[in-house]
Amino acid sequence: MSSPIVSLRDVRRDYALGAERVHALQGVTLDVERGDYVAIVGPSGCGKSTLLNMIGVIDQPTSGTVEIAGKRVDAMSDREATSFRLHNIGFVFQRFYLMPILSAVENVALPMAEAKVSRKEREEKAAELLAYVGLANRERHRPSQLSGGEQQRVAIARALANGPTLLLADEPTGELDASTGVQIISLFQRLNVDGTTIVVVTHDEDLASAARRKVHMRDGRVVDA
């Protein structure tokens, strides 16, 4: 049995909100195996986004350990964390977050440019990825010229740019209508079948059902359904 690709042990996250202290995560222990497709669900404010940020090395726990692909990421310096994200994590946000001034293919190529991939290579790879997500003929379009679903697919292509170990998504269908959401859900399934490990955080029941595994959270803890 191979070791899990993501391993959280008693992760806690507190932060100050004005005069109060918020306990966003209160001791989460979780494993994600390679090739898994996990959906984290729970009511608003249960800490699922915070948990995802821990896995995505966008945030660091107040205590506890986080291991990704065998590496401890909870105490990395900012520089190390940034580099780790670049090469190992693909993040998809609820609000797409594409650069409005770049075209679709330029957006997808951005992480590769940062990883010092040559222009020719990254343009080819970006085109490939856009084709994979079904946007082969929309390469030169700006985000403002794309529909919500198309923008989200560009964002997914961008997340895959550097061949990450993990694909993380925070409410990927949150801003999309039902039918567009279905397209995204099937894309995620295809990605997982093709070997990508996926962790999504979602309210969307359909998306959660499409995953292999559901993890329920409430009040900063993982609970049984």
């Binding site: 520089r79 940034t82 977050y97 650069m99 001034i101």
Partner: protein, 395 residues
Amino acid sequence: MRTALAQASLIRHRSRTLLAVLGVAIAAAMLLDMVMLATGMRESFRELLLSRGFEVRLAPKGTLPFDTDATIPGVKAVTAVLRSNPDIREISAVMGGSIHIQAGDRDVSSAVLGIDPSVQGDYVSLSGRDVKSADAIAVNDYLLGKLGARIGDTVNVASGYDPQTRTYTGQRKLVITGPVKFIYGAKDQAGAAMRRETLEAMSGPEKRDRASLFMIRVRKGADAERVRDWIETQLPNVTAISVATAIAQVDQRLSYFRQLAFILGAVSLFVGFLLVTTLVTVSVNERAGEIAVMRAIGVSKTHVVQQIVIEGVAISVAGAVLGLGLGLVTARYLNAILSSFPGLPMAIDFFLFQPRAAWSALGLLIASGIASGVYPAWRAASLPIAESLRREAIA
């Protein structure tokens, strides 16, 4: 990729960018003008002094050339002493005075220089004609106009006016030649030159064998300062002035302009800095979300900062280029005002463009443009990612 991002970002807010460039351009123009002012007089003066290649000047003891009516006695003796120094190549003795010229029904007074045309360094001939013969008088265009005369006309020239007897000691008929341009002449001033012997003959005993000024060219490779020191020891009744000393004197009298230049220059630099900082700060505040996303997908802090700083640099460079043109135009205008300073040689510029000083000043402005962008960019790139993402909404 980074320059593309910077470029696109600047174009997105066209009017804001243009306004900032204009502001920086004005700051750059002022800075440039102040740099030109601070060094202009001195450099211009130095160029003027060296224009004919005379490095050392001798004036009567305790005076500056033509400051007073005093003269140096014993031209022959002085010349002999000077010739004994092998470092001295050429000696030009000059006698200054004033004359009265009658041409037709016109009566004009003018300053006059008695010179030796083979070594003189006081004027340039505009026509090729010079005071070859003893009865020639070279005049400048202004005087020619005042006389209403033409080259080749014969005029009555009187010199050596005695206020008590109300007569002139010397009167001669001289032939007008030239025209010439007096290097040290002020604007709108009549000027004439004749052979020194002629002026001496016309002037009476108090000017015999005397000179107002000696100009000296040293041998190539010789040290002008050493020659100057040697002269002062050999000739105790003259003051020897090297170009460096003359400049120092002028510097002191015009320190006011230098101080003004320094203060206004510093203020311009500060304002340019402030403008770019404000622009960059506003820009990053707006793009906090974009910056957080870049960080989230793995772009390093340094690269994020670089991309933002490039925008500040672009504005500074564009502003500096524009400011260069603007500054030169303004300098010319200001120079025109100041050049009507009474008694100032026409050839003196207050604002002189020196490439090296100009590039350093503009370089300094651009460097401050870089520096001013770094801090706000760094702060923006250091914000906690999760928080910024939560807060910002990008449609």
